[in-house]
């Protein structure tokens, strides 16, 4: 990469919002660069519960957000079917849910244009036998589940097809401000350490919970209130339908089937630093207790992992809201586009905060409308109409597809590297071809390798072998080291999420995998070459 790159717009943050903004800008003819300090979707986007909102969760307290959700839900089904599983959603009234909420639910849905139909409870029990038999009413809404990494890849691919670009592992280390303008941005390659300076005409921050840190680089204050949401991943889908409690949204009241697993969400807790938080065992136990109101056998089902995402919560100052209302622009309570020209006197800088994955496209549209107005671009937004690349109209995700493909004529010839998630050697080869220099954790987001019950136990060494084989093919000097790094890095990441739930079957699994890696493969001898802190990560597994 050279010293300078002629981009119209720099987008900071490779989550769904950043990818959506990148795509929208590119389609309106602005040459744009997206940068991400890690891999795509490693922040809040990749740490959410997989729900494609119908809007049902917001109808009572935030009709505007509900309207936005259902509108975007319909659009995403059209433009990104492969990233969406049409699970449908139930809103169920358990004995713990108040009658007045349940009674008013259908009317609230109708008012927000959210499709809602009450169905006989017997039908719901037939479709989902694991449901709590004491559920007394069931409403069906068009919820779904969505695969965030594929969605980002599609958006980035579309942007690239329109002449824009996206770089991962590029950290924004500084921006230079000259009076009321940002004149340049400095990036550091997180893997090689090389530094690049670019001079965009405009900067859009899509850094979510990290937005405050980006704005601070040009002495602008954006006060975020990062909210941690903890989720639990169950080994298999006890439901093929999204199930919500029919009450005012709260902790542990939604189960979303995503790919082979089911995810119970969520909690709400303020954290100071979006990069530092922990998940406690009490939180896990409390989630399970709540979840048992939906699925009474939940406590017996195998947990794979606990994880948390940090919501990019932002409460705009009251005077800003009032000012915006005055110019007729409607600000959704769901997300906020901050115009730093009007607020802070930086004319070519915008931050987008709040929102949710379901509405990422709308958030991007609102943001790009403002950017275009400032740059004098009049092209209309087309992201709601154009189907994303590599998508087939109407062909939504089907859980059985990997098994079916492996079972089809000739499919079984491909070596299974990850037996839990049916990731084959050709799939891994293809991903490594397209993402040179990536880690196995990047491969995981792209292919789901290591996301099943053994959490990488039986695929990590196979994948590491493949990485080493490639290193040898290109004549690298550190063939063995690259395989070692691949093993250690991946194990560390996988073990991290299992610690808060380490009990029962998943603890047995951990013991066995530790036996394989420590006893069989002597992974401890690799740890000795690592920093003390890093070694503790792996050794601590059993504590």
């Amino acid at each position: 990469m050279g010293d300078s790159h002629a981009y119209d717009v720099l987008v900071v943050g490779g989550g769904a919002t950043g990818a959506g903004v990148l795509r929208d800008l590119a389609r309106r003819g602005l040459r744009t660069l997206l940068i991400e300090r890690d891999d795509f979707g490693t922040g809040t986007t990749g740490r959410y519960h997989g729900l494609l909102h119908s809007g049902g969760r917001y109808v009572a307290k935030d009709a505007l957000a509900a309207r936005e959700c259902i509108a975007e839900n319909r659009i995403l089904r059209r433009i990104a079917p492969a990233s969406i599983e049409d699970t449908g959603g139930y809103f169920v009234a358990t004995p713990d849910d108040p009658d007045d909420y349940v009674d008013g639910f259908q009317a609230a849905c109708a008012a927000a244009d959210v499709d809602c139909e009450e169905i006989p409870v017997a039908d719901a029990f037939r479709a989902e036998p694991a449901l709590n038999p004491r559920i007394r009413r069931v409403f069906r809404l068009p919820d779904g589940s969505v695969e965030p990494w594929q969605l980002i890849e599609s958006n980035v691919a579309d942007a690239r097809a329109h002449g824009s670009d996206a770089w991962t592992y590029q950290r924004l280390v500084g921006m230079e401000r000259d009076g009321g303008r940002i004149v340049s941005a400095t990036l550091r390659d997180e893997r090689s350490g090389s530094v690049t300076r670019i001079t965009p005409r405009f900067v859009v921050s899509c850094a979510g919970a990290w937005s405050g840190q980006i704005a601070a680089m040009v002495d602008v204050t954006v006060t975020m209130h990062p909210g941690k949401g903890t989720m639990l991943i169950f080994n298999q889908r006890m439901t093929d339908t999204v199930v919500n409690r029919c009450h005012k949204s709260s902790d542990g009241d939604i189960m979303v089937p995503v790919h082979t697993v089911a995810i119970l969400g969520t909690t709400e807790q303020r954290v100071e630093d979006p990069d530092r938080y922990e998940i406690t065992r009490d939180e896990v136990a409390a989630l399970i207790r709540e979840g048992e109101k939906l699925f009474p056998d939940l406590g017996r089902m195998r947990l794979l992992r606990a994880y948390a995402g940090v919501r990019p919560l932002y409460q705009p100052p009251a005077e800003v809201t009032a000012a915006a209302m005055k110019d007729g622009r409607q600000i959704s309570r769901a997300h906020t586009v901050i115009d730093h020209d009007a607020m802070d006197g930086v004319e070519n800088f915008v931050t987008i905060v709040g929102g949710k994955l379901t509405t990422f496209r709308r958030m991007a549209e609102d943001t790009v409308d403002l950017v275009c107005a400032k740059l004098g671009v009049t092209e209309p937004c087309t992201t709601a109409d154009a189907i994303l690349p590599n998508q087939v109209p109407g062909k939504t995700y089907w859980l059985g597809h990997r098994l079916a493909e492996h079972e089809a004529e000739g499919g079984g010839d491909a070596d299974l590297l990850c037996e839990c998630e049916f990731v084959t050697r050709p799939m891994l080869d293809d991903f490594l071809d397209r993402h040179p220099g990536c880690s196995i954790d990047d491969v995981r987001r792209g292919t789901r390798i290591g996301m099943g019950p053994c959490q990488g136990g039986f695929c990590t060494f196979r994948a590491a072998g493949l990485v080493g084989e490639r290193a040898r093919r290109v004549g690298a000097a550190d063939v063995a080291e690259s395989a070692d790094r691949a093993i250690l890095g991946f194990l560390r990441e996988r073990f991290k999420g299992t610690r808060p739930i380490a009990a029962g079957r998943q603890l047995q699994e951990q013991w066995m995998i530790s036996g394989v890696y420590e006893g069989g493969l002597g992974v401890r001898s690799l740890i000795e070459h690592e920093t003390p802190e890093a070694s503790r990560e792996v050794v601590d597994v059993h504590r």
Binding site: A127, N235, V284, R300, W398, L399, C420, A503, G504, R505
Partner: protein, 449 residues
Amino acid sequence: MTIAELIFDAQEEAVGYSSDECLKCNVCVTVCPVARVTDLFPGPKYVGPQAQRFRTGRAQPVQVPGTPFALSPDLTVDYCSGCGWCTTACPAGVKIAEMNSQSRARMKAGKRPKLRDWGLGQTDLVGQMGVLVSPITNRVLFNGPIRTIMEWTVGIHRDAPFPRFGKRTFQSTWKRRQKRLGSRPLPGPDKAVVYFHGCSANYYEQHVAAAAIAILKRNGFETIIPEQVCCGLPMISNALYGDARKKARKNIDALVGYARQGYRIIGTSTSCTHTIKAEYHEMLDVKDDDATVVANATWDICEFLLDLHEQGKLDTRFGRLDEDLPYHAPCQLRSHGIGLPAMELFALVPGLRAADMDHDCCGIAGTYGMKKEKYPIGMAVGAPLFDKIRASGAAEAACDSETCRWQIEKATGTRTRHPIEILLQAYRVADAAGGATPGPLSGAGTRAP
């Protein structure tokens, strides 16, 4: 409550959720007799707990080109023989074989079963008809050209082992005998047992039923034989769950009255007794009180005889049988979890040199090895067993399961009998040698010299 308490809360898991127990350790793969010999079967871990996570009640939104089924993604699970070794070996308690059976049923649900699979499930119907015209059926089933045509048309392999139909069913013989003897008071549960003969003894091997009755009588038990039907296992194996449930219900209703009075239910077909003991509950989801009472009262005949012996109540005055006896323990017997009672009984017979062939599966697995596309797999599975039996040079072999006996006889040319037939022969040798009338019984644990 802690998470551990929440998670450890319940011990008993449904078959479907038992895949949660899988630690991916591969023990099941290493014991699978089928995966060992063919690439057509990707192994119990793959088709069991792994594939389970991808099965869903929802159809494909748009059919993936070239994929086998719109609803179920599965195909290779059909190559599971159902021998049950995986479930037996799993250290974590995953019910793999049961899961496979259910998946196969699901895969075939809503489609008309193949005539062959349907026919192989209908042992009662086929048996009744076969016995009715047994001279013809036997000629047909042992005629080479006709068997070749059958292979082409029906899909039953031309070389697959078939039994010969008897002249009449065991049930009708028994009823005739009861009529001749007239009605007598029923002895108590310590003096009589219920006999579950199963299809093989009813239609093909009436001599096994006769041996069972003789052995039970010799040890002081009258035999009660209520009306009964096929246990349902052939239907389970051929994905006909609805039919199997009807059979289960009929048998439970016929047996539960006796079981509640304390009568034990003794079977000579180790796969029938295992079906009643375990599969009604686990595979067919028949789990009411009656089913549990019947299951708990059911015994495999060798298990029962060994139990008598342990209580010092078995007549151990066996005559000398000076012969080598290769013995194959069927898969279903291992699923009982009762050890190898036949081997312990053989040790009571003077001169008898019984040898456990120590091979997992003969390859027939009920009706699996009869099917055209699976016959070569079954033969490969059983090959080491056949070699050992042939190498022993023994004149006869023993095995507790009928289809295994047919398979071994067909593959090795060695006559293969039920263990109780061997035991009965030993009693007869003793009788011929003099002690024609039964004398005092053995003490506990005594063994013949």
